[in-house]
């Protein structure tokens, strides 16, 4: 039997890895990926707690967190594409200006 504290320690470490990636990386997509890591740390904590407390509540929460993470990934990556497109179009504009 694995003690609960092992799961909680692993979840805390995973969450902090996500925090570190979010604070240190500057690539937008890797920052989103770090948020996913943090959400996974929280999920692991919830599932472990619901297992050790004989309840399904934490697992229902995990289910909703996965839903929200999927929505967040779709919207965030859509924003990333829009950002990329607008920057590239700005780039093309400057090229036009240079051509006169």
């Amino acid at each position: 039997m694995i003690p609960l504290s092992w799961y909680m320690a692993l979840a805390a470490i995973l969450f902090c890895i996500g925090v570190c990636g979010f604070l240190t990386r500057r690539n937008v997509i890797i920052m989103f990926l770090s948020i996913e890591l943090m959400l996974n740390g929280v999920n692991l904590n919830l599932v472990a707690l619901s297992h050790f407390m004989d309840s399904v509540r934490g697992q229902a929460f995990t289910f909703f967190i996965i839903t929200v993470a999927a929505a967040e990934a779709a919207i965030g990556l859509g924003i990333a594409i829009a950002l990329y497109r607008s920057r590239r179009s700005v780039h093309v504009d400057t090229i036009n200006h240079l051509k006169g």
């Binding site: 694995i2 609960l4 504290s5 092992w6 799961y7 909680m8 320690a9 692993l10 805390a12 995973l14 969450f15 902090c16 890895i17 996500g18 925090v19 570190c20 990636g21 979010f22 604070l23 240190t24 990386r25 500057r26 690539n27 937008v28 997509i29 890797i30 990926l33 770090s34 996913e36 890591l37 996974n40 999920n43 692991l44 599932v47 472990a48 707690l49 297992h51 050790f52 407390m53 004989d54 309840s55 399904v56 509540r57 697992q59 229902a60 995990t62 289910f63 909703f64 996965i66 839903t67 929200v68 999927a70 929505a71 779709a74 919207i75 990556l77 859509g78 990333a80 594409i81 990329y84």
Partner: protein, 187 residues
């Protein structure tokens, strides 16, 4: 004994692939490392008797979300990455904040005590199978949040479509009512 070895293996792989994911330079390698991490996370869910969540983890996270990330990575060309200014000045301050947070969290974990036990013991879940138990809970106690989750997915779908839509560029001479920008260009 086997369970503890399995947990150790999964924990080691999760920590190693997590650190690699945030430190590798190539974003595609990062996404693949996160894929490894998600598979081992599903293994840990199996040790917690949460088979349905393990399956959802692999299908939704590894199958859908990471594929979305890979598509966007290939769409946004790798040479000119999207960069934002970091939230903290300097990478080392971010690392120090993260390590401090980890030390603080690990320090307070032994003080945690479990609350009172619920009604879904392991044997009860095994008797009913995990999917059925979770479904019963979702459709009775969490019916309204479940509907809201569906609404959130709908909002994400529409939002993704609106965000990814290409701006309409009127073809020269093709439409009778050119937009103001088009007139500007024509002049």
């Amino acid at each position: 004994m086997f369970l503890q070895f399995f947990f150790g293996y999964c924990a080691l792989m999760i920590i190693a692939s997590g650190i690699l994911a945030i430190s590798l330079r190539n974003p595609v390698h990062s996404v693949l490392m996160v894929l490894v991490l998600f598979f081992h996370m599903a293994g840990l869910y199996l040790t917690l008797n949460a088979e349905f969540l393990a399956a959802v983890q692999i299908i939704v996270y590894a199958g859908a979300i990471l594929v979305l990330y890979l598509f966007v990575l290939f769409l946004v060309s790798l040479r000119e990455e999207l960069h934002l200014d970091a939230f903290v000045p300097g990478a080392w301050l971010g690392r120090i904040i993260a390590v401090g947070l980890a030390v603080g969290l690990l320090y307070v974990i032994p003080a945690f005590t479990l609350g009172e036990k619920g009604t879904w013991s392991v044997s009860a879940i095994r008797e009913l199978t995990h999917t059925k138990a979770l479904g019963q809970e979702l459709y009775s106690a969490y019916l309204l949040p479940f509907e809201i989750a569906g609404l959130i997915l709908l909002v994400a779908l529409i939002g993704g479509l609106v965000l990814a839509r290409r701006e309409e560029v009127p073809l020269p001479g093709a439409d009778a009512d050119p937009s103001p920008e088009h007139k500007e260009v024509a002049r």
